[in-house]
Protein backbone atom coordinates (compact mmCIF):
# COMPACT_ATOMS: atom_id res chain seq x y z
CA UNK A 1 0.00 0.00 0.00
CA UNK A 2 1.20 3.47 -0.83
CA UNK A 3 -0.46 6.43 0.81
CA UNK A 4 0.32 9.90 -0.45
CA UNK A 5 -0.78 13.25 0.89
CA UNK A 6 1.23 16.16 -0.46
CA UNK A 7 1.05 19.90 -0.61
CA UNK A 8 3.64 21.99 -2.35
CA UNK A 9 3.34 25.59 -3.38
CA UNK A 10 5.39 27.27 -6.11
CA UNK A 11 4.94 31.01 -6.07
CA UNK A 12 7.79 31.79 -8.45
CA UNK A 13 5.86 30.67 -11.55
CA UNK A 14 2.91 32.27 -13.34
CA UNK A 15 0.23 31.37 -12.53
CA UNK A 16 1.34 30.05 -9.11
CA UNK A 17 1.32 26.27 -9.06
CA UNK A 18 -0.04 24.28 -6.16
CA UNK A 19 0.32 20.54 -5.88
CA UNK A 20 -2.39 19.26 -3.60
CA UNK A 21 -2.95 15.51 -3.73
CA UNK A 22 -4.25 12.97 -1.27
CA UNK A 23 -4.90 9.33 -2.14
CA UNK A 24 -4.09 5.74 -1.34
CA UNK A 25 -2.87 3.10 -3.77
CA UNK A 26 -4.18 -0.30 -2.71
CA UNK A 27 -1.69 -3.19 -2.37
CA UNK A 28 -3.33 -5.20 -5.16
CA UNK A 29 -2.52 -2.39 -7.62
CA UNK A 30 0.75 -3.66 -9.04
CA UNK A 31 1.06 -1.19 -11.87
CA UNK A 32 -0.32 2.27 -11.44
CA UNK A 33 -0.42 4.94 -14.13
CA UNK A 34 -0.36 8.68 -13.46
CA UNK A 35 -2.15 10.16 -16.45
CA UNK A 36 -2.63 13.83 -17.26
CA UNK A 37 -1.30 16.78 -19.26
CA UNK A 38 2.26 18.04 -18.77
CA UNK A 39 2.65 20.40 -15.87
CA UNK A 40 -0.16 18.79 -13.90
CA UNK A 41 2.07 17.61 -11.07
CA UNK A 42 2.79 13.98 -12.03
CA UNK A 43 6.57 14.30 -12.04
CA UNK A 44 6.52 16.45 -8.93
CA UNK A 45 4.57 13.74 -7.11
CA UNK A 46 7.17 11.15 -8.11
CA UNK A 47 9.98 13.45 -7.01
CA UNK A 48 8.32 13.90 -3.62
CA UNK A 49 7.76 10.16 -3.39
CA UNK A 50 11.41 9.43 -4.15
CA UNK A 51 12.59 12.10 -1.72
CA UNK A 52 14.20 14.30 -4.39
CA UNK A 53 11.86 17.20 -3.62
CA UNK A 54 10.61 18.09 -0.18
CA UNK A 55 6.91 18.99 -0.02
CA UNK A 56 5.64 21.86 2.13
CA UNK A 57 3.51 19.49 4.12
CA UNK A 58 1.95 16.06 3.92
CA UNK A 59 2.53 12.41 4.54
CA UNK A 60 4.12 9.66 2.43
CA UNK A 61 3.88 6.05 3.41
CA UNK A 62 5.21 2.98 1.59
CA UNK A 63 3.86 -0.22 3.12
CA UNK A 64 4.45 0.18 6.85
CA UNK A 65 7.34 2.61 6.37
CA UNK A 66 6.70 6.30 6.92
CA UNK A 67 8.92 8.14 4.43
CA UNK A 68 7.71 11.65 5.09
CA UNK A 69 5.50 13.24 7.69
CA UNK A 70 5.81 16.92 8.44
CA UNK A 71 3.70 16.67 11.62
CA UNK A 72 5.93 13.95 13.07
CA UNK A 73 9.07 15.58 11.67
CA UNK A 74 9.95 12.52 9.59
CA UNK A 75 11.77 12.95 6.30
CA UNK A 76 13.72 9.94 5.07
CA UNK A 77 16.48 10.92 2.65
CA UNK A 78 16.25 9.77 -0.98
CA UNK A 79 19.15 7.38 -0.55
CA UNK A 80 17.39 5.46 2.22
CA UNK A 81 13.93 5.24 0.66
CA UNK A 82 14.64 2.19 -1.48
CA UNK A 83 12.62 3.57 -4.34
CA UNK A 84 13.94 2.98 -7.85
CA UNK A 85 13.55 5.88 -10.23
CA UNK A 86 13.82 5.62 -13.99
CA UNK A 87 14.30 9.11 -15.37
CA UNK A 88 12.81 10.37 -18.60
CA UNK A 89 16.26 10.71 -20.17
CA UNK A 90 17.34 7.51 -18.32
CA UNK A 91 20.16 9.47 -16.62
CA UNK A 92 22.78 6.78 -17.22
CA UNK A 93 26.24 7.72 -15.98
CA UNK A 94 28.03 8.55 -19.23
CA UNK A 95 31.52 7.96 -17.82
CA UNK A 96 30.76 4.39 -16.75
CA UNK A 97 30.22 1.19 -18.71
CA UNK A 98 26.87 -0.57 -18.80
CA UNK A 99 28.07 -3.03 -16.17
CA UNK A 100 29.44 -0.28 -13.92
CA UNK A 101 26.14 1.57 -14.27
CA UNK A 102 24.21 -1.55 -13.31
CA UNK A 103 26.48 -2.13 -10.31
CA UNK A 104 26.49 1.50 -9.15
CA UNK A 105 24.14 1.00 -6.21
CA UNK A 106 26.54 -1.61 -4.82
CA UNK A 107 29.91 0.02 -5.35
CA UNK A 108 31.76 2.75 -3.49
CA UNK A 109 33.27 6.12 -4.29
CA UNK A 110 35.07 4.60 -7.26
CA UNK A 111 32.38 2.83 -9.28
CA UNK A 112 34.94 1.70 -11.87
CA UNK A 113 36.12 -0.85 -9.32
CA UNK A 114 33.48 -3.54 -9.16
CA UNK A 115 34.19 -6.55 -6.95
CA UNK A 116 33.86 -9.98 -8.55
CA UNK A 117 30.73 -10.81 -6.55
CA UNK A 118 29.06 -7.55 -7.57
CA UNK A 119 30.20 -8.01 -11.15
CA UNK A 120 28.41 -11.36 -11.26
CA UNK A 121 25.33 -9.92 -9.66
CA UNK A 122 25.13 -6.96 -12.04
CA UNK A 123 25.81 -9.25 -15.00
CA UNK A 124 22.94 -11.51 -13.87
CA UNK A 125 20.54 -8.54 -13.79
CA UNK A 126 21.68 -7.50 -17.25
CA UNK A 127 21.18 -11.07 -18.53
CA UNK A 128 17.72 -11.14 -17.02
CA UNK A 129 16.84 -8.05 -19.04
CA UNK A 130 18.42 -9.54 -22.16
CA UNK A 131 21.34 -7.11 -22.42
CA UNK A 132 24.16 -9.21 -20.97
CA UNK A 133 26.12 -8.76 -24.19
CA UNK A 134 26.25 -4.97 -23.75
CA UNK A 135 28.07 -5.03 -20.39
CA UNK A 136 31.29 -3.49 -21.70
CA UNK A 137 29.74 -0.68 -23.75
CA UNK A 138 29.29 2.96 -22.84
CA UNK A 139 25.81 4.53 -22.65
CA UNK A 140 26.48 6.70 -25.71
CA UNK A 141 27.04 3.55 -27.79
CA UNK A 142 23.55 2.24 -27.03
CA UNK A 143 20.19 2.64 -28.76
CA UNK A 144 17.26 4.24 -26.95
CA UNK A 145 15.68 0.92 -26.08
CA UNK A 146 18.96 -0.49 -24.78
CA UNK A 147 19.48 2.55 -22.59
CA UNK A 148 16.06 2.06 -21.10
CA UNK A 149 16.94 -1.49 -20.13
CA UNK A 150 20.24 -0.43 -18.59
CA UNK A 151 18.40 2.19 -16.53
CA UNK A 152 15.97 -0.51 -15.45
CA UNK A 153 18.79 -2.93 -14.58
CA UNK A 154 20.57 -0.23 -12.57
CA UNK A 155 17.42 0.59 -10.61
CA UNK A 156 16.54 -3.06 -9.96
CA UNK A 157 20.05 -3.92 -8.79
CA UNK A 158 19.53 -1.56 -5.84
CA UNK A 159 16.74 -3.88 -4.61
CA UNK A 160 14.02 -1.23 -4.51
CA UNK A 161 10.61 -1.75 -2.92
CA UNK A 162 8.89 0.42 -5.51
CA UNK A 163 9.79 1.37 -9.05
CA UNK A 164 8.96 4.77 -10.53
CA UNK A 165 9.02 5.23 -14.30
CA UNK A 166 8.91 8.82 -15.51
CA UNK A 167 7.59 8.81 -19.09
CA UNK A 168 9.69 5.83 -20.12
CA UNK A 169 8.92 6.17 -23.83
CA UNK A 170 9.11 9.90 -24.38
CA UNK A 171 12.74 9.69 -25.51
CA UNK A 172 11.88 7.14 -28.23
CA UNK A 173 10.34 7.38 -31.68
CA UNK A 174 6.84 6.07 -32.30
CA UNK A 175 7.80 2.86 -34.11
CA UNK A 176 10.09 1.77 -31.28
CA UNK A 177 7.48 2.64 -28.67
CA UNK A 178 5.11 -0.12 -29.73
CA UNK A 179 7.73 -2.83 -29.32
CA UNK A 180 9.30 -1.44 -26.15
CA UNK A 181 5.96 -1.05 -24.46
CA UNK A 182 5.41 -4.78 -24.83
CA UNK A 183 8.93 -5.57 -23.66
CA UNK A 184 8.69 -3.30 -20.63
CA UNK A 185 5.38 -4.89 -19.71
CA UNK A 186 7.02 -8.31 -19.77
CA UNK A 187 9.79 -7.08 -17.52
CA UNK A 188 7.36 -5.47 -15.09
CA UNK A 189 5.23 -8.62 -15.05
CA UNK A 190 8.28 -10.53 -13.82
CA UNK A 191 8.81 -8.18 -10.87
CA UNK A 192 7.53 -8.69 -7.37
CA UNK A 193 7.53 -4.96 -6.56
CA UNK A 194 4.87 -2.46 -7.58
CA UNK A 195 5.56 0.15 -10.25
CA UNK A 196 4.20 3.61 -10.94
CA UNK A 197 4.41 4.90 -14.48
CA UNK A 198 3.91 8.47 -15.64
CA UNK A 199 2.51 8.95 -19.10
CA UNK A 200 0.41 11.17 -21.26
CA UNK A 201 -0.09 8.49 -23.88
CA UNK A 202 -3.48 6.72 -23.50
CA UNK A 203 -2.04 3.56 -25.06
CA UNK A 204 0.48 3.28 -22.23
CA UNK A 205 -2.37 3.39 -19.74
CA UNK A 206 -4.25 0.73 -21.68
CA UNK A 207 -1.31 -1.65 -21.75
CA UNK A 208 0.13 -1.11 -18.29
CA UNK A 209 -2.30 0.07 -15.70
CA UNK A 210 -4.19 -1.89 -13.04
CA UNK A 211 -4.71 1.36 -11.20
CA UNK A 212 -5.16 4.84 -12.61
CA UNK A 213 -4.66 8.26 -11.05
CA UNK A 214 -5.79 11.23 -13.11
CA UNK A 215 -3.81 14.44 -12.77
CA UNK A 216 -4.97 17.91 -13.65
CA UNK A 217 -3.61 21.30 -12.54
CA UNK A 218 -1.93 20.00 -9.42
CA UNK A 219 -4.88 17.88 -8.32
CA UNK A 220 -5.11 14.11 -8.46
CA UNK A 221 -8.12 11.84 -8.60
CA UNK A 222 -7.79 8.06 -8.32
CA UNK A 223 -10.17 6.18 -10.59
CA UNK A 224 -11.75 3.29 -8.67
CA UNK A 225 -11.74 0.09 -10.68
CA UNK A 226 -10.57 1.63 -13.90
CA UNK A 227 -10.42 -1.67 -15.79
CA UNK A 228 -14.16 -1.97 -15.37
CA UNK A 229 -14.69 1.59 -16.58
CA UNK A 230 -12.54 0.81 -19.61
CA UNK A 231 -14.82 -2.03 -20.83
CA UNK A 232 -17.60 0.44 -21.54
CA UNK A 233 -15.62 2.27 -24.22
CA UNK A 234 -14.43 1.33 -27.70
CA UNK A 235 -11.06 3.08 -27.37
CA UNK A 236 -8.90 3.93 -24.40
CA UNK A 237 -8.75 7.53 -25.59
CA UNK A 238 -12.52 7.91 -25.30
CA UNK A 239 -12.53 6.30 -21.89
CA UNK A 240 -9.81 8.57 -20.51
CA UNK A 241 -11.42 11.67 -21.98
CA UNK A 242 -14.68 10.74 -20.33
CA UNK A 243 -13.00 10.07 -16.98
CA UNK A 244 -11.00 13.30 -17.17
CA UNK A 245 -14.12 15.34 -17.95
CA UNK A 246 -15.90 13.77 -15.00
CA UNK A 247 -12.93 14.51 -12.78
CA UNK A 248 -12.84 18.12 -13.82
CA UNK A 249 -16.46 19.00 -13.10
CA UNK A 250 -16.48 18.71 -9.29
CA UNK A 251 -13.16 20.58 -9.07
CA UNK A 252 -14.32 23.53 -11.09
CA UNK A 253 -18.02 23.43 -10.24
Amino acid sequence: MISIRLRKHFSGVHPPFILDVDYVIAPQMRRVAFFGPSGSGKSLTLHCLAGLVKPDSGHVCLGDRVLYDDAAGVSVSARRRRIGYMFQDYALFPHLSVLQNAAYARTGCFPRFVSIAERDKAQAVLERLGIGNLAGLRPDELSGGQRQRVAMARALNADPELLLLDEPFSALDTLLRERLRRELLEILAGLTIPAIIITHDPDDVDVFADGLILYDEGRARPVPDWRKARTGFASVGQCLRHLADNARQPLHG
Binding site: G51, R79, P94, Y104, A105, A155
Partner: protein, 226 residues
Protein backbone atom coordinates in the same frame (compact mmCIF):
# COMPACT_ATOMS: atom_id res chain seq x y z
CA UNK B 1 81.14 28.76 -21.00
CA UNK B 2 81.27 29.03 -17.23
CA UNK B 3 77.60 29.54 -16.55
CA UNK B 4 76.37 28.43 -13.16
CA UNK B 5 73.40 26.17 -13.91
CA UNK B 6 72.53 26.01 -10.25
CA UNK B 7 71.54 29.64 -10.51
CA UNK B 8 68.77 28.52 -12.86
CA UNK B 9 67.95 25.06 -11.55
CA UNK B 10 67.57 26.04 -7.89
CA UNK B 11 64.89 28.69 -8.50
CA UNK B 12 63.25 26.38 -11.06
CA UNK B 13 63.03 23.54 -8.55
CA UNK B 14 61.70 25.88 -5.91
CA UNK B 15 59.10 27.33 -8.27
CA UNK B 16 57.90 23.86 -9.28
CA UNK B 17 57.69 22.77 -5.66
CA UNK B 18 55.87 25.90 -4.52
CA UNK B 19 53.45 25.89 -7.46
CA UNK B 20 52.82 22.15 -7.14
CA UNK B 21 52.09 22.25 -3.43
CA UNK B 22 50.00 25.41 -3.74
CA UNK B 23 47.95 23.81 -6.53
CA UNK B 24 47.41 20.67 -4.49
CA UNK B 25 46.31 22.52 -1.35
CA UNK B 26 44.10 24.89 -3.34
CA UNK B 27 42.59 21.95 -5.19
CA UNK B 28 41.47 20.26 -1.98
CA UNK B 29 40.18 23.51 -0.50
CA UNK B 30 38.42 24.55 -3.72
CA UNK B 31 36.71 21.14 -4.04
CA UNK B 32 35.44 21.40 -0.50
CA UNK B 33 34.21 24.96 -1.09
CA UNK B 34 32.59 24.14 -4.43
CA UNK B 35 30.89 21.10 -2.95
CA UNK B 36 29.56 22.97 0.07
CA UNK B 37 28.45 26.04 -1.87
CA UNK B 38 26.79 24.13 -4.71
CA UNK B 39 24.28 22.74 -2.23
CA UNK B 40 22.84 25.85 -0.65
CA UNK B 41 21.73 29.08 -2.25
CA UNK B 42 21.25 32.08 -0.01
CA UNK B 43 22.99 35.32 0.87
CA UNK B 44 25.78 33.68 2.84
CA UNK B 45 27.10 31.51 -0.03
CA UNK B 46 26.98 34.58 -2.28
CA UNK B 47 29.22 36.41 0.17
CA UNK B 48 31.54 33.41 0.60
CA UNK B 49 31.63 33.04 -3.18
CA UNK B 50 32.71 36.68 -3.50
CA UNK B 51 35.43 36.13 -0.88
CA UNK B 52 36.67 33.06 -2.76
CA UNK B 53 36.99 35.12 -5.92
CA UNK B 54 38.62 38.09 -4.22
CA UNK B 55 42.27 36.99 -4.64
CA UNK B 56 41.69 37.10 -8.39
CA UNK B 57 40.97 40.82 -8.43
CA UNK B 58 42.99 42.14 -5.49
CA UNK B 59 46.58 43.23 -6.22
CA UNK B 60 49.02 40.57 -4.95
CA UNK B 61 50.54 43.16 -2.64
CA UNK B 62 47.22 43.54 -0.87
CA UNK B 63 47.04 39.77 -0.45
CA UNK B 64 50.59 39.76 0.84
CA UNK B 65 49.71 42.43 3.35
CA UNK B 66 46.66 40.51 4.57
CA UNK B 67 48.70 37.35 4.84
CA UNK B 68 51.35 39.10 6.92
CA UNK B 69 48.60 40.34 9.21
CA UNK B 70 47.39 36.76 9.45
CA UNK B 71 50.50 34.60 9.61
CA UNK B 72 53.17 37.19 10.46
CA UNK B 73 55.02 36.97 13.79
CA UNK B 74 52.42 39.17 15.45
CA UNK B 75 49.58 37.91 13.28
CA UNK B 76 46.48 36.16 14.54
CA UNK B 77 47.46 32.73 13.31
CA UNK B 78 51.16 33.58 13.31
CA UNK B 79 51.47 33.75 17.11
CA UNK B 80 49.87 30.36 17.44
CA UNK B 81 52.07 28.94 14.67
CA UNK B 82 55.13 30.38 16.39
CA UNK B 83 54.28 28.54 19.58
CA UNK B 84 54.23 25.22 17.76
CA UNK B 85 57.50 26.14 16.08
CA UNK B 86 56.35 27.06 12.59
CA UNK B 87 57.49 30.29 11.05
CA UNK B 88 56.10 31.07 7.60
CA UNK B 89 57.71 34.47 7.12
CA UNK B 90 60.88 34.32 4.99
CA UNK B 91 60.53 30.59 4.43
CA UNK B 92 59.62 28.60 1.32
CA UNK B 93 56.54 27.34 3.13
CA UNK B 94 55.47 30.98 3.32
CA UNK B 95 55.79 31.14 -0.47
CA UNK B 96 53.48 28.12 -0.68
CA UNK B 97 50.90 29.90 1.47
CA UNK B 98 51.08 33.02 -0.71
CA UNK B 99 50.78 31.02 -3.94
CA UNK B 100 47.93 28.92 -2.52
CA UNK B 101 45.83 32.00 -1.85
CA UNK B 102 46.62 33.48 -5.25
CA UNK B 103 45.77 30.36 -7.28
CA UNK B 104 42.72 29.31 -5.25
CA UNK B 105 40.13 31.34 -7.23
CA UNK B 106 41.37 29.91 -10.54
CA UNK B 107 40.61 26.36 -9.44
CA UNK B 108 37.49 27.29 -7.51
CA UNK B 109 35.94 29.26 -10.35
CA UNK B 110 36.52 26.70 -13.07
CA UNK B 111 35.54 23.79 -10.83
CA UNK B 112 32.36 25.51 -9.78
CA UNK B 113 31.39 26.28 -13.39
CA UNK B 114 32.17 22.73 -14.49
CA UNK B 115 30.23 21.18 -11.61
CA UNK B 116 27.18 23.28 -12.39
CA UNK B 117 27.22 21.89 -15.95
CA UNK B 118 26.67 18.34 -14.70
CA UNK B 119 23.13 17.15 -15.43
CA UNK B 120 21.26 17.22 -12.09
CA UNK B 121 19.31 14.13 -13.18
CA UNK B 122 22.52 12.12 -12.88
CA UNK B 123 23.04 13.25 -9.30
CA UNK B 124 19.39 12.54 -8.52
CA UNK B 125 19.72 9.09 -10.07
CA UNK B 126 22.69 8.40 -7.81
CA UNK B 127 20.64 9.59 -4.84
CA UNK B 128 17.83 7.13 -5.57
CA UNK B 129 20.47 4.41 -5.90
CA UNK B 130 21.48 4.97 -2.29
CA UNK B 131 24.61 7.08 -2.72
CA UNK B 132 25.55 9.66 -0.09
CA UNK B 133 26.12 13.26 -1.14
CA UNK B 134 29.86 12.85 -0.73
CA UNK B 135 29.89 9.67 -2.78
CA UNK B 136 27.85 11.36 -5.52
CA UNK B 137 30.41 14.14 -5.64
CA UNK B 138 33.37 11.76 -5.93
CA UNK B 139 31.80 9.16 -8.23
CA UNK B 140 29.55 11.23 -10.51
CA UNK B 141 29.92 15.02 -10.33
CA UNK B 142 33.70 15.25 -10.22
CA UNK B 143 34.47 12.71 -12.98
CA UNK B 144 31.96 14.45 -15.27
CA UNK B 145 33.37 17.88 -14.49
CA UNK B 146 37.02 16.84 -14.56
CA UNK B 147 37.89 18.66 -17.80
CA UNK B 148 36.94 21.99 -16.27
CA UNK B 149 38.62 21.09 -13.00
CA UNK B 150 41.76 19.98 -14.80
CA UNK B 151 41.88 23.15 -16.88
CA UNK B 152 41.64 25.11 -13.63
CA UNK B 153 44.47 23.08 -12.11
CA UNK B 154 46.75 23.75 -15.07
CA UNK B 155 46.01 27.46 -15.01
CA UNK B 156 46.59 27.50 -11.28
CA UNK B 157 49.91 25.71 -11.58
CA UNK B 158 51.10 28.08 -14.31
CA UNK B 159 49.93 31.07 -12.29
CA UNK B 160 51.65 29.66 -9.21
CA UNK B 161 54.91 29.41 -11.16
CA UNK B 162 54.67 33.11 -11.94
CA UNK B 163 53.55 34.32 -8.51
CA UNK B 164 55.60 37.35 -7.50
CA UNK B 165 54.04 40.06 -5.35
CA UNK B 166 52.54 38.19 -2.42
CA UNK B 167 55.49 35.78 -2.36
CA UNK B 168 57.98 38.64 -2.18
CA UNK B 169 56.15 40.21 0.75
CA UNK B 170 55.86 37.02 2.78
CA UNK B 171 58.82 34.87 1.83
CA UNK B 172 61.20 37.59 0.75
CA UNK B 173 63.88 37.07 -1.87
CA UNK B 174 66.50 34.82 -0.35
CA UNK B 175 68.63 33.09 -3.03
CA UNK B 176 68.59 29.34 -2.63
CA UNK B 177 65.85 29.52 -0.02
CA UNK B 178 62.82 31.50 -1.15
CA UNK B 179 63.98 32.89 -4.48
CA UNK B 180 61.58 31.45 -7.06
CA UNK B 181 61.98 31.92 -10.83
CA UNK B 182 59.94 35.10 -10.93
CA UNK B 183 61.93 36.61 -8.06
CA UNK B 184 65.25 35.46 -9.51
CA UNK B 185 64.44 37.16 -12.81
CA UNK B 186 63.67 40.43 -11.08
CA UNK B 187 66.82 40.08 -9.01
CA UNK B 188 69.06 39.34 -12.01
CA UNK B 189 67.54 42.18 -14.00
CA UNK B 190 67.95 44.64 -11.13
CA UNK B 191 71.59 43.71 -10.64
CA UNK B 192 72.32 44.03 -14.37
CA UNK B 193 72.98 40.31 -14.91
CA UNK B 194 71.25 40.23 -18.29
CA UNK B 195 72.53 36.82 -19.32
CA UNK B 196 71.13 35.20 -16.20
CA UNK B 197 67.85 37.09 -16.56
CA UNK B 198 67.53 35.94 -20.20
CA UNK B 199 68.15 32.29 -19.30
CA UNK B 200 65.65 32.43 -16.44
CA UNK B 201 63.06 34.06 -18.68
CA UNK B 202 63.54 31.41 -21.36
CA UNK B 203 63.33 28.56 -18.85
CA UNK B 204 60.15 29.98 -17.32
CA UNK B 205 58.51 30.44 -20.71
CA UNK B 206 59.52 26.96 -21.81
CA UNK B 207 58.15 25.27 -18.69
CA UNK B 208 54.84 27.10 -19.00
CA UNK B 209 54.50 26.29 -22.71
CA UNK B 210 55.25 22.62 -22.11
CA UNK B 211 52.73 22.53 -19.28
CA UNK B 212 49.91 24.16 -21.17
CA UNK B 213 50.55 22.08 -24.29
CA UNK B 214 50.53 18.89 -22.27
CA UNK B 215 47.30 19.95 -20.62
CA UNK B 216 45.71 20.70 -23.97
CA UNK B 217 46.78 17.32 -25.40
CA UNK B 218 45.46 15.47 -22.36
CA UNK B 219 42.06 17.12 -22.36
CA UNK B 220 41.48 16.77 -26.11
CA UNK B 221 42.59 13.12 -26.22
CA UNK B 222 40.39 12.10 -23.33
CA UNK B 223 37.61 14.18 -24.81
CA UNK B 224 37.55 12.07 -27.97
CA UNK B 225 37.30 8.61 -26.44
CA UNK B 226 35.16 9.71 -23.54
Amino acid sequence: MDFDWHAVLTPLGLSLRVAGLATLISFLAAMLAAWLLARKRSALPAFVDACCTLPLVLPPTVLGYYLILLVGRRGVAGQWLNEVGINLIFSWQGAVVAATVVVFPLIYKSARAALEQVNPHLENAARTLGASEWRIFISVSLPLAWRGVFAGLMLAFARGMGEFGATLMIAGNIPGKTQTLALAIYDAFQSGNDLRATRLVLVTSLVCIVLLTAAECLTSRYGKNK
